[in-house]
């Protein structure tokens, strides 16, 4: 080995001879390639690329060379070291990949193990159905209005053109609240409909009024598969200048399309409600059988009882008497109102066969509905 500062001819420096450098290079590359593990590669690296490796030693010799020879020698060593370094990195990557693959295999688990530690919750489908309907109307610019469930008779009946002797009062079997003296003459009832919220809204604010009123209502029915004494309605009310039956139809059509889907026929049946005139019942073409079960005993339809139509709810143009009782000028304003029964919509939209399931609070019924419907 040459000592520094000695004057000599570079070509005579053994370690810097091209064939020697090339050999050291090739040996290093071969050693790396032969390393079968990261440990072996580490040893090979020390031997062939460490501080005491032939190439490192050769590199040191460069400093002692006369200036004119340094460049050539530097280039020679530099190229060799570059090649070795590249080979080392390549092999390092290969071996690491192999190791990682092996470790990952060893760490594999059965991901099909059931993991249901976080308890699942859900909101009641009637709640989320009401919200969906609210949202549809809020998007149109409506507001959501609410009112009390224990309500003044005047607001539940009288203000809605249902006078004390109106036959329609017996249509709705009403829960009456006891008066302070225990009699029935409290003037207070469990509301039989969400319509008193309409009246409250009109009494409360100046037109234009565009509101939807979701809520629980009460009638003295016994609970069975298709009736419940406590049920939910969503009421809608629009009072503005120039509101017509046509506006009502357009609005309901939008609601149905958002709620159920498009392409279904609606049937508008004249009906009677004291608070609207004209009044209509809205029937939706059965979206299961599309009417094909009618008169066809071979294809009965459970959803519409083979009637071909599903009752959605009642609606109409607000009776001017209602406007008067609520302080709205019927010569300037007109309105429409509608009321939908949520239980029935839920039954139809989600194939619920028995209304009792909506009442009893069995978590198995509610869970599949999740957070929204």
């Amino acid at each position: 080995m040459s000592a520094p500062n000695k004057s000599y001819d570079p070509v005579e420096v053994e370690a810097l001879k091209p064939e020697v450098v090339e050999q050291a290079r090739d040996e290093a590359i071969a050693a790396f390639a032969a390393a079968g593990s990261l440990d072996e590669l580490k040893q090979a690296k020390v031997a062939h690329f460490g501080d005491r490796s032939p190439l490192a030693l050769a590199n040191r010799e460069i400093g002692a060379l006369p200036p004119h020879a340094k460049a050539a020698a530097g280039k020679l060593i530099g190229q060799a070291r570059g090649a070795v370094n590249q080979a080392l990195a390549k092999r390092q990557a290969e071996l690491e990949a192999e190791r990682d693959a092996r470790v990952l295999v060893e760490e594999a688990v059965d991901v099909t193990l059931p993991f249901d530690r976080a308890p699942r919750g859900a909101r009641h489908p009637l709640t989320t159905l009401a919200e969906r309907i609210e949202d549809t109307f809020v998007a149109m610019g409506y507001q959501v209005a609410e009112g009390p469930e224990v309500e003044a008779e005047w607001l539940n009946f009288d203000a809605l053109n249902l006078g004390p002797d109106h036959p329609a009062r017996s249509m709705q079997d009403t829960f009456f609240v006891q008066a302070p003296d225990g009699s029935a003459d409290s003037g207070v009832v469990l509301r039989t409909q969400t319509s008193p919220v309409q009246a409250r809204t009109m009494l409360d604010r100046e037109p234009p009024v565009y509101v939807v009123c979701p809520g629980r209502v009460y009638r003295t029915d016994e609970l069975d598969a298709t009736h419940t004494p406590v049920f939910r309605q969503v009421e809608g009310l629009a009072v503005d200048e120039g509101i017509t039956f046509a506006d009502l139809k357009g609005t309901i059509e939008v609601l149905v399309e958002k709620l159920i889907g498009g392409g279904l026929e609606l049937r508008w049946r004249p009906s009677y409600f004291p608070f609207t005139e004209p009044s209509a019942e809205i029937d939706l073409q059965c979206f299961v059988c599309r009417g094909e079960s009618v008169g066809n005993p071979d294809r009965p339809c459970r959803t519409c009882s083979s009637e071909g139509w599903i009752e959605l709810g009642g609606c109409g143009v607000v009776n001017p008497r209602v406007l008067v009782a609520c302080g709205v000028d019927p010569n300037r304003y007109s309105g429409f109102a509608f009321g939908l029964g949520l239980e029935r919509i839920l039954m139809n939209r989600h194939n619920v066969a028995d209304m009792r399931d909506m009442v009893e609070g069995d978590v198995r019924f509610t869970l599949p509905f999740g957070m929204e419907i």
């Binding site: 308890p119 049937r267 009618v294 009782a325």
Partner: protein
Amino acid sequence: MRVPLSWLREYVDLPAGETGRDVAERLVRAGLEVETVEQIGTDLKGPLVVGEVLSIEELSGFKKPIRHCFVNVGDANGTGEPQEIVCGATNFQVGDKVVVVLPGAVLPGPFPIAARKTYGHTSAGMICSARELGMGDDHAGIIVLPPEYEPGTDAIELLQLVDEVLDIAVTPDRGYCLSLRGVAREAAAAYGLPLADPALLDVPPANSFGYLVKVTDPAGCDRFVARTVIGVDPNAKSPIWLQRRLQKAGIRPISLTVDITNYVMLEVGQPLHAYDKQRVDGPITVRRAQEGETLTTLDGVERKLAAEDLLICDNSGPIGLAGVMGGASTEILDPAAGPGTTEVIIEAAHFDAVSVARTAKRHKLPSEASKRFERGVDPEAARAAAQRAVDLLVLIAGGTAEAGVTDIAAPHPVRTITISADLPDRVAGTAYGRETVTRRLQEIGCSVAGADVLEVTPPTWRPDLTDPYDLAEEVIRLEGYDNVPARMPNVPPGKGLTEAQRVHRRLGVALAGAGYVEVNNYPFLGEAAFEALGLEPEDRRRRTVKLVNPLNDEEPSLRTTLLPGLLGALRRNIGRGNTDLAIFETGTVFLPKDERTVAPRPAVDHRPSDEELAELDAALPDQPRRVAVALAGERLPSGWWGKGDQASWADAIEAARTVARAAGVELTVRQGQLAPWHPGRCAELVVTGTDRVVGHAGELHPRVVKALGLPARTAAMELDIDLLTADGAERVNGPAVSGFPVATQDVALIVDTAVPAAEVEDALRSGAGELLEAIRLFDVFTGEQVGEGKKSLAYALRFRAADRTLTADEASAAREAAVAEAVARTGAVLRGA
């Protein structure tokens, strides 16, 4: 109203191929609610024929009388030989005409008929009862036909066994559709066909020698027509066609005279009453009842009359509740029980709708008559209806119409409605034009005059048409709702949901996200619920709003707490095998005001005053919105990952925090005591920074758990959402996040068991000062090492400064200040010190 299609066709010449369903569809679109179209006799198959009983042999030795008969069925059996039939009925004799079903036929059921051996003889067919033929419930015996029918005649046709019946739910505004006449009018309009009005009869004018009637209350009774028929054959039976029509319409045939009055009522819509003339004592008077009067009605019930009841009376006193039900004393007599009625007074009157409705309601006596009067009867139909009944009594019962015609009529003002011809256009939002409006109004029986402004006189059978909008509705419905265009109103920009509505949604989402399932319970409860909860007698929650007519007498009250319903749902679920449960409910409770008042009933012809509206609200109970949860079983399930966690008091409190967080409100928890919670495991929930208690949470009292049959350690929470959110949520200011490193220090303090952890934490927090970023209790320990009556609370404190890296000394100083405050406030001792 049940309308047989075959009967309807008598007044409207409907197209021959039109089925009941087709007609129903048209009527539905015109506004009649056809609920069902009943198919009668579709599964019936002949041969079903008239037979003549030739011989009867009574068989003995059986448990019941059995007859072995030979019946002449003409050529219907193919041989003309007498048909051998064994029969269990005994209400016929030799020579009677009966209805025979022959082998090969199928009776409703379906019940196929074949010859078979029975009681030692061959029975080749059956002699039929009404019920076997689907004609009604009468199973008293077999049908004995009038003698005039030939043996072998097809009885399916004869008995009109195949038909369709439209069952129509008549809305209160359409009283006139409680008759064939009214339904036929709608059908005629729907098909554009002429109507053969059954009330268009020749009626002799009123005269002075009719039965004497005095009306003292013309407001209650503005029309009273009386006719008399004598020489009625009491034994005359209702002909088959009459019986069949009544049966199909849902009315049981009783006797000829009564059947005729019912028939005419169904046909014309005018309720009639028939009196046995010989049992009526003197002139008839129509008047209000006097206090203390009684009347035994046709149903045999003696009724105490109220002064408002309108009565039909004779010299003996009341003989009928006007428009509701007749009295027993003048009832038509059945010849089976003595001499039958031979002289009849027919009453066709018009009574005030409200008066009839109140009387029917007062006596809980809804009748076919009252149903019609309440909804409005055509006062002009009275004469025709009486005439029709007289004609039928003469024709069928062999009676003689007396010449006297009583007709008392209070003057009727002509009701004219002024309507702008374009009102229907403006209501519907489409253009019908004046001609269409006029034509449609005429179609329903109105007379119309005028051009741009119409003077409309509605027909007498439409008392519901009182204002221009009523008329507009008629035009729009007859033109078809389907033909009204659809349009969207121009809604002004909306404001979206209110903050309260958003909070309400958020807390539902938050609880569901935390694993709670929402339930909705009825708000009804009774004393038993409060007992089970262990409420003290003076507990405010026992003061309830009560119902006059609860569904269940045991549960007359409205809830003052959500817990009974929620715990009931919990138990129901457990009973069904769902053991690990977390459920929630939101809803109103009903809290009576201290001052209870009666709600006024302001007039409806103008807006009530603000005072009146305030009085309305004052009469209502407070109805705050609550949220409650209940938990039982495992909150976090055990599994292959290890042990789970039992639901506990702490979960209930966490649920309250979940709700509060969703509402943007901070809750402070204090030790509380309230039924139905465990006295040592009850948290009082207070809005932080206030003294406002908004609810409670914790484990239920063991006694309550036992009383309700719930699992041990069942936990619950209930809080008032309105109280919780009373201040509204504060707007959050974005925190300045420090980039400097954190310094963590732990501290363990020993305090008396009774010291609430929340107080220790509060003290540490305030002692530590601004540098404290977070504090977390990571261990609670009791045991020998800390001494009896003591507990050790271990906290991790995280310190950080906004502007520099804290030195160890700074962090330690802050920690020491925190400990010093805890020592001072709670008597804590630093553990290991």
